[in-house]
């Protein structure tokens, strides 16, 4: 029999998954919660259990064609509806459309007298009726443990809960059962004993006055799931989990290049710029121009019509835009065109995980081709060092998997050798630009140095980094016995160069002049000789003419003399 090529996880488990629609959670669990089975969601008060459950039901009913029943033991239905209305979850509409049913189970111990044997069949009937009425595929019991407060016979209660969870399985509904976190066990009343298919633990911890929410899949039968703790967010768009799973190192490595926005820097990078999808670290001391490099990158991306998110962690967007304008970059135009989005958060406002989860969500929402985190170093201080590195690794992996080119800036103190914060993350980066201020001759000059750029034959030269009103320019630096020359030293060197050039020029001009003069002199001599020759020729031809005329005259004389002699001579001899 031919087996179609289905991903292994689905074949081996043989179970179907019910999508929660919670960003990240479905990826984490390989598709959602175990279908037709109960899942236990536990956590302390206020950690988001109810919201997770409502989201699961809402998405099922509104988006996946699976109606749901919400059985609440604590919160009143009208409060529940009101609480999620801010997330645009219109529960009233779903109730009217018979896609959702809410049942408030109220058990007041003070009102109840117990006498003899009983069971919870009433609860079963209520739930069964609601399920059948709307054809529900999903059920939430929030928080069923409240029954322990309302009923005193624990033995009956435990037996009935066990029966309830079995009954839910028989019904074939996917259920979420919430439970309060207990001391030394997952839930206060040990519900995990009955719900064994999937257990999700929600947690919020306070570290140095900052709360971070975390989610962990404690157990998921039949599915290889991520076992780490994943940060999650609750904000005005609901719950989102940052799911960077073990996707790891199988991302693509595109050959395509993306401009850094600085022509001179592109030239250092084999003329093309960064690789698309690469992560670039720009580190440097205060005022060394990190944000300007980031600004150029954002500008270049937007000019190509690509979207960019600028995570500003130290400056306000307005401030960045103003500062960039001073070096000739108009970033406001890209904001107006919807290509550039600023996301500004104070690092101290949230924990590291929350920051990264926010970024994750923003990226999923805005779908940028490039992002900038300015500066990354402030995030490193928001959490524990090891945590920070792990989280950044996940972020980098995530960005790579989406082929998003990222520029991270990092504030360092001191020199190259002391850039310790960078050492933590630099190994995760594909390219590393180092900016530093060198003090010499009483001035600070910016230098740029390309420490690494994986996968290309990049320039190894130090460049002087100059900010002008037309943006950043990188100047060749002079390398002499005292090291590289920058700033006024470079300018002085340039002046010397220019002077030497002038000297050479003058020399040349002089030689040229000399030659011209000599040439004229010789030419004049040639002219003189030629006129002399012409004179000689003239004289010679005159003499020749005279000589021939003389010859003619002489022969005439001779003839005339001969005639006269012949006349006289014959008469005398006769």
């Amino acid at each position: 029999m031919h087996t179609p090529n289905i991903p292994l996880a689905k074949v081996s488990s043989g179970i179907f998954k019910a999508r929660t629609g919670v960003a990240g959670l479905d990826e984490l669990t390989g598709g959602g919660l175990p279908g037709g089975r109960p899942t236990l969601v536990c956590g302390a008060a206020g950690c988001g259990k109810t919201l997770l459950a409502v989201t699961f039901l809402y998405n099922g009913a509104a988006n996946f064609g699976e109606p749901g029943v919400f059985m609440t033991f604590e919160e009143r239905p009208q409060d529940l509806i009101k609480n999620v209305a801010s997330l645009n979850y219109d529960l009233d509409r779903l109730i009217k459309e018979n896609k959702l049913a809410i049942d408030h189970v109220r058990v007041e111990r003070s009102e109840i007298e117990e006498t003899g044997e009983y069971d919870l069949e009433g609860l079963f009937i209520r739930l069964g009726y609601a399920i059948d009425r709307i054809g529900a595929k999903r059920v939430v019991l929030d928080t069923v443990e409240a029954l322990f407060g309302g009923l005193s016979n624990q033995a009956i209660l435990r037996a009935e809960l066990r029966r309830l969870f079995e009954w839910l399985k028989d019904k074939g509904v996917t259920a979420i059962i919430t439970g309060e976190r207990g001391e030394g066990q997952l839930t206060r009343h040990g519900l995990e004993e009955y719900v064994s298919d999937c257990v999700i633990l929600l947690d919020h911890r306070v570290h140095e006055h900052i709360t971070t929410r975390r989610l962990r899949v404690v157990k998921y039968r039949g599915t290889a799931h991520g076992t780490n703790e994943y940060p999650f967010l609750i904000d005005d768009s609901g719950i989102s989990v940052m799911p960077i799973t073990s996707a790891g190192l199988d991302h693509l490595a595109p050959d395509e290049r993306i401009s850094s926005g600085i022509a001179d820097l592109d030239a250092m990078l084999e003329g093309g710029g960064y690789f698309r999808g690469s992560s670039v670290l720009v580190s440097g001391m205060a005022g060394s121009g990190k944000s300007s490099i980031a600004g150029h990158f954002a500008n270049a991306a937007c000019r190509n019509g690509e979207r960019c998110i600028y995570f500003a962690l130290e400056e306000s967007p307005a401030q960045i835009i103003r500062n960039m304008r001073s070096i000739g970059l108009d970033l406001q135009q890209w904001v107006d065109k919807g290509l550039l989005r600023y996301a500004a958060h104070r690092p101290s406002l949230f924990g590291l995980e929350t920051h990264l989860a926010t970024m994750h969500r923003d990226v999923a929402e805005f779908q940028p081709a490039t992002i900038i985190i300015d500066p990354l170093s402030s995030l490193l201080h928001a959490g524990d060092r090891n945590d920070a590195q792990a989280m950044i690794l996940r972020l980098v992996d995530f960005l790579k998997s989406k082929e998003i080119t990222a520029v991270f800036t990092s504030l360092t103190h001191g020199n190259v050798e002391h850039a310790m914060t960078d050492m933590q993350v630099s190994s995760l980066m594909d390219a590393w630009l180092l900016l530093y201020n060198r003090e010499s001759n009483g001035e600070h000059n910016r230098q740029l140095y390309l420490i690494k750029s994986r996968g290309m034959a990049h320039s190894n030269q130090v460049r002087e980094f100059v900010m002008t009103h037309e943006g950043i320019a990188l100047r060749e630096v002079y390398v002499g016995p005292e090291g590289v020359l920058t700033g006024s030293a470079r300018i002085a060197q340039e002046a010397r160069e220019r002077e030497r050039g002038m000297q050479l020029k003058h020399e040349n001009e002089r030689r040229n002049f000399d030659f011209t003069r000599r040439r004229r002199r010789i030419e004049a001599q040639i002219e003189e000789l030629q006129s002399q020759l012409a004179d000689e020729e003239r004289e010679f031809s005159a003499l020749t003419a005279e000589a021939s005329a003389h010859d003619a005259r002489a022969s005439e004389e001779r003839a005339r003399m001969g005639q006269s002699r012949r006349v006289a001579a014959p008469s005398s001899k006769k």
Binding site: D103, V105, R106, V107, E111, I112, E113, E114, T115, G116, E117, Y118, D119, L120, E121, G122, L123, I125, R126, G128, Y129, A130, L147, G150, L151
Partner: protein, 102 residues
């Protein structure tokens, strides 16, 4: 199901059961004999089978079966279980004070 006309200080009771289970049958028998003994002629009992009318379970906030509700006199009282402990049922119905007995 109505045992007797309601007199002054009458008791309106409702007993919720689910099908013909032993617990349900016991509860029905127990409440009937108790009422006959302590409230003769001044009580009504409605026996409601949620198997036949499941929508009432939610409407009347029923969780446990059997559940006895004292509608009148107010305040509303709830007693759950098979009503086998007569003393507790009387307590639950506020019938345990000597002055209450006819």
């Amino acid at each position: 199901m109505i045992a007797a006309p309601v007199q002054e200080k009458g008791y309106n009771l409702r007993l919720y059961v689910a099908g013909q289970t032993p617990k349900s049958m016991a509860a029905i028998a127990n409440i009937r004999s108790l009422c006959e003994q302590y409230l003769p002629g001044r009580y009504t009992i409605d026996i409601i089978d949620l198997m036949k009318d499941p929508a009432l379970a939610q409407r009347h906030q029923i969780v446990a079966i059997p559940t006895l509700i004292r509608e009148l006199p107010e305040p509303i009282r709830r007693i759950i279980g098979d009503l086998s402990n007569t003393q507790r049922v009387l307590m639950g119905l506020d019938l345990d004070e000597p002055g209450q007995f006819a």
